[in-house]
Amino acid sequence: MPSFKLSTSLFAILGLVIAFSNCQSKESVEKAQYVANGRKLFATHCQNCHGADGKGLGKLYPPLDDTLFYKEHQDKLACYIKYGIDTTIHVHGIAYNSKMPENPTLTPIDIAYLITYITTEFGNSETKVSVDDVNKQLENCQ
């Protein structure tokens, strides 16, 4: 029964492929959910100053598309969102010194949604930020 064997192994391979692709899509579905939830929170908490397009407003409020800023401050983003910023920061080499207000009502999962949305939408990030990441960052806020 060589033909039966062949079809069984084909099925097995097909099964593996489907399982693998499911794995991948589960990951990307979860990220898409984070982005969708983050978009809603962004509209409520961030959009007024940073704009729906994330471009900020003049030198009052910085744009959110500086990938280098994200790289250099990736362990502080949760702190910035939760507790605000009252020092001068540099985005695209331009100094911004307007105080960013704190957002005390945001929970760690909200912040994970927000960072995932902002870095994906404006910073071309491909990864999701988890609640664990956020909690770790929040423990070390100065």
Binding site: N48, L57, G58, L60, S98, P101
Partner: protein, 212 residues
């Protein structure tokens, strides 16, 4: 008989066409009163419209400005404060679109009143204007004492109030109010709503055409 019908409908059609080609005019907002006047021995009835009264405010350059600044100009007015965490950034972002579109155009100007009379001194307003990207007299940022600024908000039909219970400490509406050469209000739209802002762009053009 058919011929008469034809001529009649032709005339109706023509008159409709005439209506359409007439220049579109913006409404005049506010209460109006009839006033009787005697001109050349005849009594005529004149309509008195709501107008923005005279004022004296301090601008971002610490110069006192009066409504003479906007003589022979139309202007868009609003009420904000520099550290307003709620509607102001969106409203100012939208007003900035008008400023950028009409930058250097002597027919139009902009007037932002700060309702935070405690914090927004001329130097704070100056720094805010610069950071916003405004570096000309075409957009005035003004401050004044509490009573005169809040009274002025009433004159523009914009709600503004000191309120400790709202973020930032002041409650106010984000209207962009369009004022003509005679200081009459001709349009008012929510400066935080993109669709309404688009309508204001159209109305500004319509109003500018009245003075061509």
């Amino acid at each position: 008989m058919i011929r008469i019908h034809f001529i009649f409908s032709f005339l109706v059609g023509l008159s409709l066409l005439a209506c359409q080609t007439e220049k579109k005019k913006l409404p005049i907002y506010g209460n109006r009163e009839a006033e009787e006047k005697v001109v050349d021995g005849k009594t005529i009835v004149d309509t008195i419209y709501h107008t923005i009264p005279n004022y004296e405010f301090l601008n971002q350059d610490s110069v006192i400005i009066t409504n003479k600044v906007f003589e022979n100009k139309i202007y868009i007015s609003n009420f904000f404060f520099t550290h307003c965490p709620t509607i102001c950034p969106t409203m100012q972002r939208n007003l900035l679109k008008f400023y950028e579109k009409y930058k250097g155009d002597p027919r139009i100007a902009f007037l932002s009143h700060s309702i935070d009379f405690k914090y927004d001194s001329p130097s704070v307003l100056k720094s805010y204007a610069n950071k916003l990207g405004v570096d000309s007299e075409q957009w005035q940022f003004v401050t004044g004492d509490k009573a005169s600024i809040y009274k002025m908000a009433d004159n523009y039909f914009v709600y503004a109030k000191e309120d400790k219970n709202v973020p930032g400490g002041y409650d106010h509406q984000g209207y962009l109010v369009l004022v003509d050469h005679d200081k009459r209000i001709r349009a008012a739209y929510d400066g935080t709503d993109d669709e309404q802002v688009q309508l204001l762009f159209n109305d500004v053009e319509t109003l500018l055409k009245e003075y061509e």
